[in-house]
Protein backbone atom coordinates (compact mmCIF):
# COMPACT_ATOMS: atom_id res chain seq x y z
CA UNK A 1 0.00 0.00 0.00
CA UNK A 2 1.32 3.50 -0.83
CA UNK A 3 2.40 5.74 2.04
CA UNK A 4 -0.52 7.65 3.51
CA UNK A 5 -0.87 11.31 2.66
CA UNK A 6 -3.68 13.61 3.76
CA UNK A 7 -6.11 14.72 1.07
CA UNK A 8 -5.26 18.36 1.77
CA UNK A 9 -1.50 17.74 1.66
CA UNK A 10 0.63 18.78 -1.30
CA UNK A 11 1.43 15.19 -2.28
CA UNK A 12 -2.21 14.29 -2.79
CA UNK A 13 -2.35 15.96 -6.20
CA UNK A 14 0.40 13.70 -7.47
CA UNK A 15 -1.40 10.62 -6.24
CA UNK A 16 -4.60 11.76 -7.93
CA UNK A 17 -2.66 12.39 -11.12
CA UNK A 18 -1.81 8.68 -11.14
CA UNK A 19 -5.53 8.06 -11.52
CA UNK A 20 -5.79 10.62 -14.32
CA UNK A 21 -6.57 8.09 -17.03
CA UNK A 22 -9.80 7.27 -15.23
CA UNK A 23 -10.85 10.88 -15.21
CA UNK A 24 -9.48 11.83 -18.61
CA UNK A 25 -12.85 12.22 -20.27
CA UNK A 26 -16.52 11.59 -19.76
CA UNK A 27 -16.42 8.06 -21.21
CA UNK A 28 -13.47 6.94 -19.11
CA UNK A 29 -14.98 8.32 -15.93
CA UNK A 30 -18.30 6.64 -16.64
CA UNK A 31 -16.61 3.32 -17.38
CA UNK A 32 -14.66 3.57 -14.15
CA UNK A 33 -17.63 4.48 -11.95
CA UNK A 34 -19.91 1.88 -13.50
CA UNK A 35 -17.08 -0.64 -13.23
CA UNK A 36 -17.05 -0.34 -9.45
CA UNK A 37 -18.45 -3.50 -7.87
CA UNK A 38 -22.16 -3.37 -7.06
CA UNK A 39 -23.21 -2.97 -3.46
CA UNK A 40 -24.69 -5.97 -1.65
CA UNK A 41 -27.54 -4.04 -0.01
CA UNK A 42 -28.64 -6.80 2.35
CA UNK A 43 -25.08 -7.51 3.41
CA UNK A 44 -24.35 -3.81 3.93
CA UNK A 45 -27.41 -3.30 6.11
CA UNK A 46 -26.69 -6.43 8.09
CA UNK A 47 -23.09 -5.36 8.65
CA UNK A 48 -24.16 -1.89 9.77
CA UNK A 49 -26.76 -3.41 12.10
CA UNK A 50 -24.22 -5.84 13.57
CA UNK A 51 -21.73 -3.08 14.27
CA UNK A 52 -24.54 -1.22 16.03
CA UNK A 53 -24.95 -3.96 18.61
CA UNK A 54 -21.57 -3.52 20.29
CA UNK A 55 -21.90 -2.78 23.98
CA UNK A 56 -19.75 0.21 24.93
CA UNK A 57 -19.80 0.81 28.69
CA UNK A 58 -18.08 2.61 31.58
CA UNK A 59 -14.58 3.88 30.73
CA UNK A 60 -14.92 3.05 27.04
CA UNK A 61 -18.20 4.94 26.99
CA UNK A 62 -16.65 7.94 28.72
CA UNK A 63 -13.86 7.93 26.12
CA UNK A 64 -16.35 7.59 23.27
CA UNK A 65 -18.47 10.48 24.57
CA UNK A 66 -15.49 12.81 24.83
CA UNK A 67 -14.25 11.72 21.41
CA UNK A 68 -17.69 12.29 19.89
CA UNK A 69 -17.93 15.77 21.43
CA UNK A 70 -14.53 16.66 19.98
CA UNK A 71 -15.74 15.53 16.53
CA UNK A 72 -18.89 17.61 16.35
CA UNK A 73 -19.44 20.24 13.70
CA UNK A 74 -21.86 22.28 15.78
CA UNK A 75 -24.33 23.43 13.18
CA UNK A 76 -26.91 26.12 12.73
CA UNK A 77 -28.32 26.38 9.22
CA UNK A 78 -31.64 28.15 9.54
CA UNK A 79 -33.08 30.99 7.56
CA UNK A 80 -33.76 32.61 10.91
CA UNK A 81 -30.11 32.60 12.05
CA UNK A 82 -28.95 35.85 13.59
CA UNK A 83 -25.46 37.02 14.56
CA UNK A 84 -26.58 36.65 18.18
CA UNK A 85 -27.53 33.04 17.68
CA UNK A 86 -24.24 32.29 15.95
CA UNK A 87 -22.32 33.95 18.79
CA UNK A 88 -24.28 31.88 21.33
CA UNK A 89 -23.43 28.74 19.39
CA UNK A 90 -19.76 29.72 19.33
CA UNK A 91 -19.82 30.25 23.09
CA UNK A 92 -21.22 26.75 23.43
CA UNK A 93 -18.54 25.38 21.10
CA UNK A 94 -15.84 26.91 23.31
CA UNK A 95 -17.34 25.66 26.56
CA UNK A 96 -19.90 22.95 25.90
CA UNK A 97 -20.67 22.29 29.57
CA UNK A 98 -20.20 25.36 31.78
CA UNK A 99 -20.67 23.19 34.88
CA UNK A 100 -17.79 20.91 33.91
CA UNK A 101 -14.71 22.44 32.35
CA UNK A 102 -13.20 19.05 31.60
CA UNK A 103 -15.66 18.59 28.72
CA UNK A 104 -13.75 18.85 25.43
CA UNK A 105 -14.40 21.51 22.82
CA UNK A 106 -16.16 20.68 19.58
CA UNK A 107 -14.26 20.49 16.29
CA UNK A 108 -15.99 23.21 14.33
CA UNK A 109 -18.93 25.54 14.03
CA UNK A 110 -20.88 25.20 10.79
CA UNK A 111 -22.84 28.20 9.50
CA UNK A 112 -24.10 29.89 6.35
CA UNK A 113 -21.52 32.02 4.46
CA UNK A 114 -22.83 35.37 5.68
CA UNK A 115 -22.32 34.28 9.29
CA UNK A 116 -18.69 33.20 8.82
CA UNK A 117 -17.24 36.55 9.85
CA UNK A 118 -19.38 36.59 13.00
CA UNK A 119 -18.34 33.06 13.92
CA UNK A 120 -14.69 33.75 13.17
CA UNK A 121 -14.72 36.78 15.41
CA UNK A 122 -16.47 34.91 18.24
CA UNK A 123 -14.10 31.94 18.10
CA UNK A 124 -10.93 34.00 17.72
CA UNK A 125 -7.75 31.97 17.96
CA UNK A 126 -9.37 29.13 19.90
CA UNK A 127 -8.47 26.54 17.27
CA UNK A 128 -12.11 25.69 16.64
CA UNK A 129 -12.63 25.67 12.89
CA UNK A 130 -15.31 27.67 11.13
CA UNK A 131 -17.05 25.62 8.48
CA UNK A 132 -19.30 27.29 5.96
CA UNK A 133 -21.78 25.68 3.63
CA UNK A 134 -21.48 27.08 0.14
CA UNK A 135 -22.46 26.52 -3.51
CA UNK A 136 -26.09 27.53 -2.95
CA UNK A 137 -26.64 25.07 -0.12
CA UNK A 138 -28.82 23.01 0.22
CA UNK A 139 -30.23 22.68 -3.32
CA UNK A 140 -27.18 23.78 -5.28
CA UNK A 141 -29.40 24.79 -8.16
CA UNK A 142 -27.52 27.85 -9.42
CA UNK A 143 -24.99 28.41 -12.16
CA UNK A 144 -21.34 27.51 -11.56
CA UNK A 145 -20.04 31.11 -11.38
CA UNK A 146 -22.51 31.84 -8.59
CA UNK A 147 -21.38 28.71 -6.71
CA UNK A 148 -17.75 29.73 -7.06
CA UNK A 149 -18.49 33.27 -5.95
CA UNK A 150 -20.38 31.87 -2.95
CA UNK A 151 -17.36 29.75 -2.06
CA UNK A 152 -14.79 32.52 -2.54
CA UNK A 153 -16.91 34.83 -0.45
CA UNK A 154 -16.99 32.33 2.45
CA UNK A 155 -13.25 31.68 2.18
CA UNK A 156 -12.51 35.40 2.10
CA UNK A 157 -14.62 35.86 5.22
CA UNK A 158 -12.31 33.40 6.96
CA UNK A 159 -13.93 29.98 6.61
CA UNK A 160 -11.53 27.14 7.41
CA UNK A 161 -13.74 24.51 5.83
CA UNK A 162 -16.22 24.61 2.96
CA UNK A 163 -19.18 22.23 2.79
CA UNK A 164 -20.29 22.09 -0.85
CA UNK A 165 -23.24 20.23 -2.32
CA UNK A 166 -22.90 18.25 -5.53
CA UNK A 167 -25.26 18.77 -8.44
CA UNK A 168 -27.54 15.76 -7.83
CA UNK A 169 -29.44 16.49 -11.02
CA UNK A 170 -26.28 16.15 -13.12
CA UNK A 171 -25.14 13.10 -11.17
CA UNK A 172 -28.45 11.25 -11.49
CA UNK A 173 -28.68 12.00 -15.20
CA UNK A 174 -25.22 10.53 -15.70
CA UNK A 175 -23.24 13.71 -16.39
CA UNK A 176 -20.44 12.62 -14.09
CA UNK A 177 -17.82 14.83 -15.73
CA UNK A 178 -19.88 17.92 -14.96
CA UNK A 179 -19.96 16.97 -11.27
CA UNK A 180 -16.25 16.14 -11.32
CA UNK A 181 -15.27 19.45 -12.92
CA UNK A 182 -17.51 21.35 -10.52
CA UNK A 183 -15.88 19.79 -7.45
CA UNK A 184 -12.44 20.59 -8.90
CA UNK A 185 -13.48 24.17 -9.58
CA UNK A 186 -14.83 24.62 -6.04
CA UNK A 187 -11.62 23.13 -4.65
CA UNK A 188 -9.69 25.78 -6.58
CA UNK A 189 -12.01 28.43 -5.16
CA UNK A 190 -11.15 27.23 -1.64
CA UNK A 191 -7.66 28.64 -2.06
CA UNK A 192 -7.17 31.78 -0.07
CA UNK A 193 -5.84 34.79 -1.98
CA UNK A 194 -2.06 34.39 -2.33
CA UNK A 195 -2.03 30.73 -1.28
CA UNK A 196 -1.84 27.42 -3.09
CA UNK A 197 -4.41 24.71 -3.20
CA UNK A 198 -2.14 22.24 -1.41
CA UNK A 199 -0.92 23.43 1.94
CA UNK A 200 1.69 21.70 4.03
CA UNK A 201 0.19 22.33 7.41
CA UNK A 202 -3.35 21.60 6.46
CA UNK A 203 -4.60 24.91 7.88
CA UNK A 204 -3.09 27.96 6.28
CA UNK A 205 -3.77 28.86 2.77
CA UNK A 206 -6.70 26.74 1.59
CA UNK A 207 -10.01 25.89 3.17
CA UNK A 208 -10.68 22.17 3.43
CA UNK A 209 -13.40 20.96 1.14
CA UNK A 210 -16.22 18.72 2.29
CA UNK A 211 -18.40 17.35 -0.47
CA UNK A 212 -22.06 16.69 0.39
CA UNK A 213 -23.80 13.98 -1.65
CA UNK A 214 -27.29 14.27 -0.19
CA UNK A 215 -27.49 10.50 -0.12
CA UNK A 216 -31.23 10.66 0.55
CA UNK A 217 -31.60 11.83 -3.06
CA UNK A 218 -29.17 9.43 -4.70
CA UNK A 219 -31.69 6.56 -4.75
CA UNK A 220 -29.32 3.58 -4.64
CA UNK A 221 -26.31 2.36 -2.68
CA UNK A 222 -24.44 1.92 -5.99
CA UNK A 223 -24.85 5.64 -6.60
CA UNK A 224 -23.45 6.44 -3.16
CA UNK A 225 -20.36 4.37 -3.90
CA UNK A 226 -19.93 6.07 -7.29
CA UNK A 227 -20.41 9.53 -5.81
CA UNK A 228 -17.83 8.76 -3.11
CA UNK A 229 -15.19 7.75 -5.66
CA UNK A 230 -16.07 10.63 -7.94
CA UNK A 231 -15.64 13.18 -5.16
CA UNK A 232 -12.42 11.65 -3.86
CA UNK A 233 -10.93 11.55 -7.38
CA UNK A 234 -11.86 15.21 -7.78
CA UNK A 235 -9.93 16.10 -4.64
CA UNK A 236 -12.45 16.15 -1.79
CA UNK A 237 -10.86 16.38 1.67
CA UNK A 238 -14.00 15.04 3.33
CA UNK A 239 -17.10 13.32 2.01
CA UNK A 240 -20.34 14.10 3.79
CA UNK A 241 -23.67 12.30 3.65
CA UNK A 242 -26.36 14.93 3.74
CA UNK A 243 -27.45 18.49 4.15
CA UNK A 244 -29.90 17.72 6.92
CA UNK A 245 -32.60 19.41 4.84
CA UNK A 246 -34.32 16.39 3.31
CA UNK A 247 -36.36 13.55 4.80
CA UNK A 248 -33.61 10.91 4.75
CA UNK A 249 -30.30 11.97 6.24
CA UNK A 250 -27.29 10.05 7.48
CA UNK A 251 -28.05 6.38 8.06
CA UNK A 252 -25.60 3.76 9.35
CA UNK A 253 -25.56 1.70 6.11
CA UNK A 254 -24.87 4.73 3.90
CA UNK A 255 -22.15 5.95 6.23
CA UNK A 256 -20.60 2.48 6.36
CA UNK A 257 -20.61 2.38 2.57
CA UNK A 258 -18.82 5.72 2.40
CA UNK A 259 -16.31 4.58 5.02
CA UNK A 260 -15.62 1.51 2.88
CA UNK A 261 -15.15 3.69 -0.19
CA UNK A 262 -12.67 5.83 1.76
CA UNK A 263 -10.86 2.66 2.87
CA UNK A 264 -10.65 1.35 -0.70
CA UNK A 265 -9.52 4.71 -2.04
CA UNK A 266 -6.84 4.88 0.64
CA UNK A 267 -5.66 1.39 -0.20
CA UNK A 268 -5.26 2.17 -3.87
CA UNK A 269 -3.87 5.72 -3.71
CA UNK A 270 -2.69 6.24 -0.15
CA UNK A 271 -4.71 9.44 0.08
CA UNK A 272 -6.55 9.81 3.39
CA UNK A 273 -10.03 11.32 3.11
CA UNK A 274 -12.39 12.18 5.98
CA UNK A 275 -16.04 11.26 6.45
CA UNK A 276 -18.84 13.32 7.95
CA UNK A 277 -22.31 11.89 8.53
CA UNK A 278 -24.79 14.71 9.04
CA UNK A 279 -28.41 15.02 10.03
CA UNK A 280 -30.52 12.71 12.12
CA UNK A 281 -27.82 11.74 14.63
CA UNK A 282 -29.36 12.86 17.90
CA UNK A 283 -28.39 10.43 20.62
CA UNK A 284 -25.18 9.30 22.26
CA UNK A 285 -26.11 5.74 21.40
CA UNK A 286 -26.21 6.58 17.68
CA UNK A 287 -22.94 8.50 17.85
CA UNK A 288 -21.17 5.60 19.53
CA UNK A 289 -22.46 3.25 16.84
CA UNK A 290 -20.85 5.48 14.21
CA UNK A 291 -17.56 5.52 16.11
CA UNK A 292 -17.59 1.71 16.24
CA UNK A 293 -18.16 1.67 12.47
CA UNK A 294 -15.21 4.00 11.87
CA UNK A 295 -12.92 1.96 14.07
CA UNK A 296 -13.93 -1.33 12.47
CA UNK A 297 -13.78 -0.07 8.89
CA UNK A 298 -10.94 2.43 8.84
CA UNK A 299 -9.13 1.92 12.11
CA UNK A 300 -7.82 4.26 14.75
CA UNK A 301 -6.11 6.59 12.30
CA UNK A 302 -9.53 7.99 11.42
CA UNK A 303 -10.72 8.31 15.01
CA UNK A 304 -9.83 11.97 15.33
CA UNK A 305 -11.61 15.19 14.57
CA UNK A 306 -9.28 15.65 11.59
CA UNK A 307 -10.80 12.68 9.77
CA UNK A 308 -14.25 12.07 11.17
CA UNK A 309 -16.94 14.58 12.07
CA UNK A 310 -20.56 14.58 13.13
CA UNK A 311 -22.76 17.23 11.54
CA UNK A 312 -25.22 17.81 14.34
CA UNK A 313 -26.81 20.33 16.61
CA UNK A 314 -28.94 18.46 19.14
CA UNK A 315 -26.44 15.59 19.50
CA UNK A 316 -24.17 17.72 21.67
CA UNK A 317 -26.83 18.16 24.34
CA UNK A 318 -27.43 14.44 24.58
CA UNK A 319 -23.70 13.75 24.81
CA UNK A 320 -23.40 16.32 27.58
CA UNK A 321 -26.33 14.81 29.49
CA UNK A 322 -24.76 11.36 29.22
CA UNK A 323 -21.47 12.81 30.34
CA UNK A 324 -23.13 14.32 33.39
CA UNK A 325 -24.76 10.97 34.12
CA UNK A 326 -21.38 9.24 34.04
CA UNK A 327 -19.71 11.79 36.28
CA UNK A 328 -22.52 12.22 38.84
CA UNK A 329 -24.37 8.91 38.66
CA UNK A 330 -27.67 10.74 38.21
CA UNK A 331 -29.69 10.98 35.05
CA UNK A 332 -29.54 14.52 33.78
CA UNK A 333 -32.30 16.44 32.03
CA UNK A 334 -32.80 19.11 29.40
CA UNK A 335 -32.97 21.75 32.15
CA UNK A 336 -29.22 21.36 32.58
CA UNK A 337 -28.09 22.02 29.00
CA UNK A 338 -28.68 24.97 26.73
CA UNK A 339 -31.75 25.49 24.61
CA UNK A 340 -30.48 26.14 21.08
Amino acid sequence: MPITVPAYGKEAAGRLASMADMTADDGALRRFLHGLPGVDAVGLQARAATLGTRSIKTTAKAYAIDLAISMIDLTTLEGADTPGKVRALCAKALLPDPTDRTAPRVAAVCVYPDMVATAKEALGGSGIQVASVATAFPAGRVALPVKLADTRDAVAAGADEIDMVIDRGAFLSGRYMAVFEEIKAVKEACVRAGGTSQSETGGGSAAHLKVIFETGELQTYDNVRRASWLAMLAGADFIKTSTGKVAVNATPPVTLLMLEAVRDFHESTGVQVGVKPAGGIRTTKDAVKYLVMVNETLGERWLTADWFRFGASSLLNDLLMQRQKLSTGRYSGPDYVTVD
Binding site: Q324, G329, R330, Y331, S332, G333, P334, D335, Y336
Partner: protein, 288 residues
Protein backbone atom coordinates in the same frame (compact mmCIF):
# COMPACT_ATOMS: atom_id res chain seq x y z
CA UNK B 1 -66.37 -27.89 21.55
CA UNK B 2 -66.05 -28.90 25.14
CA UNK B 3 -64.94 -26.02 27.36
CA UNK B 4 -62.02 -28.04 28.76
CA UNK B 5 -60.63 -28.74 25.28
CA UNK B 6 -59.78 -25.09 24.75
CA UNK B 7 -56.19 -24.11 25.14
CA UNK B 8 -55.80 -21.30 27.62
CA UNK B 9 -54.76 -17.95 26.12
CA UNK B 10 -52.37 -16.40 28.59
CA UNK B 11 -51.85 -12.68 28.61
CA UNK B 12 -48.36 -11.23 28.25
CA UNK B 13 -48.24 -8.33 30.66
CA UNK B 14 -46.05 -5.48 29.44
CA UNK B 15 -44.85 -2.07 30.53
CA UNK B 16 -46.60 1.08 29.38
CA UNK B 17 -44.13 3.67 28.08
CA UNK B 18 -44.95 6.67 25.93
CA UNK B 19 -48.26 5.16 24.81
CA UNK B 20 -46.65 1.88 23.71
CA UNK B 21 -46.46 -1.51 25.39
CA UNK B 22 -42.82 -2.63 25.33
CA UNK B 23 -41.20 -5.44 27.26
CA UNK B 24 -38.53 -4.42 29.69
CA UNK B 25 -35.37 -3.20 27.98
CA UNK B 26 -33.54 -5.73 30.16
CA UNK B 27 -35.65 -8.63 28.89
CA UNK B 28 -36.31 -9.67 32.49
CA UNK B 29 -39.60 -10.85 33.99
CA UNK B 30 -40.63 -11.95 37.46
CA UNK B 31 -43.33 -14.25 38.71
CA UNK B 32 -46.46 -12.70 40.13
CA UNK B 33 -48.47 -14.87 42.49
CA UNK B 34 -51.85 -14.48 44.14
CA UNK B 35 -52.33 -14.18 47.88
CA UNK B 36 -52.07 -17.96 48.26
CA UNK B 37 -48.75 -18.05 46.38
CA UNK B 38 -50.20 -19.57 43.22
CA UNK B 39 -48.64 -18.36 39.95
CA UNK B 40 -50.72 -15.76 38.10
CA UNK B 41 -48.51 -14.37 35.38
CA UNK B 42 -45.04 -13.15 34.53
CA UNK B 43 -44.70 -9.39 34.80
CA UNK B 44 -41.86 -7.41 33.26
CA UNK B 45 -39.07 -6.64 35.72
CA UNK B 46 -38.27 -3.11 34.62
CA UNK B 47 -34.71 -1.77 34.84
CA UNK B 48 -33.38 1.70 35.55
CA UNK B 49 -33.12 2.24 31.82
CA UNK B 50 -36.85 1.63 31.49
CA UNK B 51 -37.29 4.24 34.23
CA UNK B 52 -35.11 6.63 32.27
CA UNK B 53 -37.09 6.02 29.08
CA UNK B 54 -40.31 6.58 31.01
CA UNK B 55 -39.07 9.96 32.21
CA UNK B 56 -38.15 10.95 28.67
CA UNK B 57 -41.66 9.98 27.50
CA UNK B 58 -43.29 11.83 30.39
CA UNK B 59 -41.24 14.96 29.72
CA UNK B 60 -42.18 14.86 26.05
CA UNK B 61 -45.87 14.58 26.90
CA UNK B 62 -45.81 17.32 29.52
CA UNK B 63 -46.14 20.32 27.19
CA UNK B 64 -49.24 19.05 25.45
CA UNK B 65 -50.95 17.69 28.56
CA UNK B 66 -50.31 20.68 30.81
CA UNK B 67 -51.23 23.00 27.95
CA UNK B 68 -54.56 21.28 27.28
CA UNK B 69 -57.58 23.06 28.66
CA UNK B 70 -58.79 21.88 32.04
CA UNK B 71 -62.11 21.02 30.43
CA UNK B 72 -60.36 18.79 27.89
CA UNK B 73 -58.33 17.02 30.58
CA UNK B 74 -61.49 16.42 32.58
CA UNK B 75 -63.24 14.95 29.56
CA UNK B 76 -60.36 12.58 28.87
CA UNK B 77 -60.18 11.42 32.47
CA UNK B 78 -63.92 10.91 32.52
CA UNK B 79 -63.49 8.80 29.41
CA UNK B 80 -60.96 6.69 31.31
CA UNK B 81 -63.63 6.07 33.96
CA UNK B 82 -66.09 5.02 31.25
CA UNK B 83 -63.58 2.50 29.90
CA UNK B 84 -62.89 1.21 33.41
CA UNK B 85 -66.59 0.70 33.94
CA UNK B 86 -66.73 -1.50 30.84
CA UNK B 87 -63.90 -3.67 32.16
CA UNK B 88 -65.24 -4.09 35.69
CA UNK B 89 -65.29 -7.88 35.55
CA UNK B 90 -61.67 -8.09 34.44
CA UNK B 91 -60.47 -5.76 37.16
CA UNK B 92 -62.64 -7.50 39.76
CA UNK B 93 -60.99 -10.81 38.94
CA UNK B 94 -57.50 -9.29 38.99
CA UNK B 95 -58.04 -7.46 42.26
CA UNK B 96 -59.58 -10.55 43.87
CA UNK B 97 -56.55 -12.62 42.86
CA UNK B 98 -54.01 -9.98 43.80
CA UNK B 99 -55.41 -9.07 47.19
CA UNK B 100 -57.12 -12.31 48.20
CA UNK B 101 -60.55 -10.72 48.37
CA UNK B 102 -63.87 -12.38 47.75
CA UNK B 103 -65.48 -11.57 44.44
CA UNK B 104 -68.05 -9.29 46.07
CA UNK B 105 -65.44 -7.38 48.05
CA UNK B 106 -63.20 -7.02 44.98
CA UNK B 107 -66.15 -5.72 42.98
CA UNK B 108 -66.76 -3.11 45.66
CA UNK B 109 -63.10 -2.06 45.50
CA UNK B 110 -63.24 -1.69 41.71
CA UNK B 111 -66.43 0.35 41.91
CA UNK B 112 -64.85 2.59 44.49
CA UNK B 113 -61.86 3.04 42.20
CA UNK B 114 -64.03 4.00 39.23
CA UNK B 115 -65.97 6.43 41.41
CA UNK B 116 -62.74 7.93 42.68
CA UNK B 117 -61.49 8.40 39.13
CA UNK B 118 -64.70 10.23 38.25
CA UNK B 119 -64.43 12.32 41.41
CA UNK B 120 -60.89 13.42 40.52
CA UNK B 121 -61.83 14.01 36.87
CA UNK B 122 -64.36 16.57 38.07
CA UNK B 123 -61.60 18.51 39.83
CA UNK B 124 -59.78 19.42 36.61
CA UNK B 125 -61.59 22.71 36.07
CA UNK B 126 -62.23 23.40 39.75
CA UNK B 127 -58.82 23.13 41.33
CA UNK B 128 -57.88 26.66 40.27
CA UNK B 129 -60.77 28.04 42.31
CA UNK B 130 -59.52 26.23 45.42
CA UNK B 131 -55.77 26.63 45.02
CA UNK B 132 -55.78 29.99 43.23
CA UNK B 133 -56.67 33.42 44.53
CA UNK B 134 -57.07 37.07 43.66
CA UNK B 135 -54.75 38.84 46.07
CA UNK B 136 -55.38 42.34 47.40
CA UNK B 137 -52.23 44.40 46.88
CA UNK B 138 -51.31 48.00 47.71
CA UNK B 139 -51.13 49.32 44.17
CA UNK B 140 -53.07 49.64 40.95
CA UNK B 141 -52.66 45.97 39.99
CA UNK B 142 -54.70 42.86 39.65
CA UNK B 143 -52.69 40.27 41.51
CA UNK B 144 -53.69 36.73 40.64
CA UNK B 145 -52.26 33.45 41.88
CA UNK B 146 -53.03 30.35 39.92
CA UNK B 147 -51.92 26.73 40.32
CA UNK B 148 -49.63 25.24 37.72
CA UNK B 149 -48.62 21.58 37.40
CA UNK B 150 -45.23 20.71 38.89
CA UNK B 151 -44.05 18.71 35.89
CA UNK B 152 -42.96 15.09 35.70
CA UNK B 153 -44.02 13.27 38.86
CA UNK B 154 -42.67 9.88 39.86
CA UNK B 155 -45.34 7.95 41.75
CA UNK B 156 -44.55 4.92 43.88
CA UNK B 157 -47.95 3.23 44.04
CA UNK B 158 -49.04 1.85 47.42
CA UNK B 159 -48.10 -1.76 48.11
CA UNK B 160 -51.25 -2.56 50.10
CA UNK B 161 -53.91 -1.61 47.56
CA UNK B 162 -53.07 -2.61 44.03
CA UNK B 163 -55.96 -0.89 42.27
CA UNK B 164 -57.96 1.50 44.45
CA UNK B 165 -54.73 2.71 46.01
CA UNK B 166 -53.14 3.11 42.56
CA UNK B 167 -56.07 5.13 41.23
CA UNK B 168 -56.05 7.24 44.37
CA UNK B 169 -52.43 8.28 43.86
CA UNK B 170 -52.37 8.50 40.06
CA UNK B 171 -55.56 10.41 39.24
CA UNK B 172 -54.78 13.46 41.43
CA UNK B 173 -51.34 13.78 39.85
CA UNK B 174 -52.43 13.87 36.22
CA UNK B 175 -55.73 15.73 36.58
CA UNK B 176 -53.91 19.00 37.24
CA UNK B 177 -51.67 18.62 34.17
CA UNK B 178 -48.66 16.74 35.54
CA UNK B 179 -47.34 13.71 33.72
CA UNK B 180 -46.56 10.60 35.71
CA UNK B 181 -44.11 7.71 35.90
CA UNK B 182 -45.79 5.09 38.07
CA UNK B 183 -44.01 2.22 39.80
CA UNK B 184 -46.75 -0.36 40.34
CA UNK B 185 -47.12 -2.34 43.56
CA UNK B 186 -44.21 -4.77 43.59
CA UNK B 187 -46.09 -7.97 44.43
CA UNK B 188 -49.38 -7.10 42.73
CA UNK B 189 -48.62 -5.19 39.52
CA UNK B 190 -51.22 -6.83 37.28
CA UNK B 191 -54.16 -4.43 37.90
CA UNK B 192 -51.79 -1.53 37.18
CA UNK B 193 -50.57 -3.09 33.94
CA UNK B 194 -54.18 -3.71 32.89
CA UNK B 195 -55.04 -0.12 33.74
CA UNK B 196 -52.49 0.83 31.08
CA UNK B 197 -54.68 -0.84 28.46
CA UNK B 198 -57.58 1.31 29.60
CA UNK B 199 -55.47 4.47 29.48
CA UNK B 200 -54.22 3.62 26.00
CA UNK B 201 -57.77 3.43 24.66
CA UNK B 202 -59.11 6.56 26.34
CA UNK B 203 -57.70 9.46 24.30
CA UNK B 204 -55.08 9.99 26.99
CA UNK B 205 -52.01 11.19 25.05
CA UNK B 206 -49.11 8.71 25.10
CA UNK B 207 -46.54 9.48 27.77
CA UNK B 208 -48.90 11.24 30.19
CA UNK B 209 -48.94 8.07 32.29
CA UNK B 210 -46.10 5.56 32.13
CA UNK B 211 -46.36 2.38 34.17
CA UNK B 212 -43.42 0.27 35.29
CA UNK B 213 -43.54 -3.02 37.18
CA UNK B 214 -40.60 -4.42 39.09
CA UNK B 215 -38.66 -3.92 42.29
CA UNK B 216 -39.73 -0.65 43.88
CA UNK B 217 -36.30 0.02 45.38
CA UNK B 218 -34.48 -0.66 42.10
CA UNK B 219 -36.72 1.70 40.11
CA UNK B 220 -37.29 4.38 42.73
CA UNK B 221 -33.61 5.08 43.32
CA UNK B 222 -32.78 6.38 39.81
CA UNK B 223 -36.14 8.17 39.67
CA UNK B 224 -35.46 9.98 42.95
CA UNK B 225 -32.00 11.02 41.76
CA UNK B 226 -33.14 11.91 38.22
CA UNK B 227 -32.55 15.57 37.46
CA UNK B 228 -35.51 15.74 35.09
CA UNK B 229 -38.13 14.48 37.56
CA UNK B 230 -39.78 17.38 39.32
CA UNK B 231 -41.57 15.60 42.15
CA UNK B 232 -41.83 12.18 43.73
CA UNK B 233 -44.64 10.58 45.69
CA UNK B 234 -43.11 8.06 48.10
CA UNK B 235 -46.38 6.38 49.11
CA UNK B 236 -45.23 2.91 48.08
CA UNK B 237 -41.81 3.09 49.76
CA UNK B 238 -41.05 1.60 53.16
CA UNK B 239 -39.72 3.91 55.88
CA UNK B 240 -36.05 3.10 55.35
CA UNK B 241 -36.21 3.32 51.55
CA UNK B 242 -38.19 6.55 51.80
CA UNK B 243 -35.40 8.17 53.81
CA UNK B 244 -32.81 7.20 51.20
CA UNK B 245 -35.02 8.42 48.39
CA UNK B 246 -35.65 11.74 50.10
CA UNK B 247 -31.94 12.23 50.41
CA UNK B 248 -31.42 11.44 46.71
CA UNK B 249 -34.30 13.73 45.75
CA UNK B 250 -32.84 16.68 47.65
CA UNK B 251 -30.15 17.31 45.06
CA UNK B 252 -32.38 18.99 42.51
CA UNK B 253 -34.93 20.20 45.06
CA UNK B 254 -37.59 17.75 44.01
CA UNK B 255 -40.95 18.15 45.59
CA UNK B 256 -41.37 15.11 47.83
CA UNK B 257 -44.55 13.68 49.30
CA UNK B 258 -43.67 11.48 52.24
CA UNK B 259 -45.41 8.17 52.86
CA UNK B 260 -47.92 7.90 55.68
CA UNK B 261 -50.75 5.68 56.84
CA UNK B 262 -53.61 5.81 54.35
CA UNK B 263 -57.15 4.50 54.37
CA UNK B 264 -57.88 4.06 50.70
CA UNK B 265 -61.60 3.57 51.26
CA UNK B 266 -62.02 6.91 53.01
CA UNK B 267 -62.87 10.24 51.38
CA UNK B 268 -59.53 11.29 49.83
CA UNK B 269 -59.85 15.05 50.28
CA UNK B 270 -57.75 17.46 48.19
CA UNK B 271 -54.42 16.76 49.86
CA UNK B 272 -52.91 14.74 47.01
CA UNK B 273 -54.40 17.05 44.42
CA UNK B 274 -52.67 20.09 45.89
CA UNK B 275 -49.37 18.35 46.63
CA UNK B 276 -48.09 18.56 43.05
CA UNK B 277 -48.93 22.13 42.13
CA UNK B 278 -46.82 25.25 41.93
CA UNK B 279 -48.29 28.69 42.40
CA UNK B 280 -47.83 31.24 39.66
CA UNK B 281 -48.58 34.82 40.61
CA UNK B 282 -49.14 37.47 37.98
CA UNK B 283 -49.21 41.23 38.52
CA UNK B 284 -51.35 42.87 35.92
CA UNK B 285 -51.68 46.65 35.68
CA UNK B 286 -55.21 47.92 36.17
CA UNK B 287 -56.54 50.19 33.45
CA UNK B 288 -57.04 53.73 34.69
Amino acid sequence: MNQSDRLSVLKTYKLYLGGAFPRSESGRVYEVTDSKNRWLANAPLASRKDARDAVVAARKAFGGWSGATAYNRGQILYRVAEMLEGRRDQFTAEVAAAEGLSKAKAAAVVEAAVDRWVWYAGWSDKVAQIAGSANPVAGPYFNLSSPEPTGVVAVLAPQDSSFLGLVSVLAPVIVTGNTAVVVAAEDAPLPALSLAEVLATSDLPGGVVNILSGRTAELATPLAAHQDVNAIDLTGAGAELATDLERAAADNLKRVRRPGPADWAADPGTDRLLAFLETKTVWHPMGV
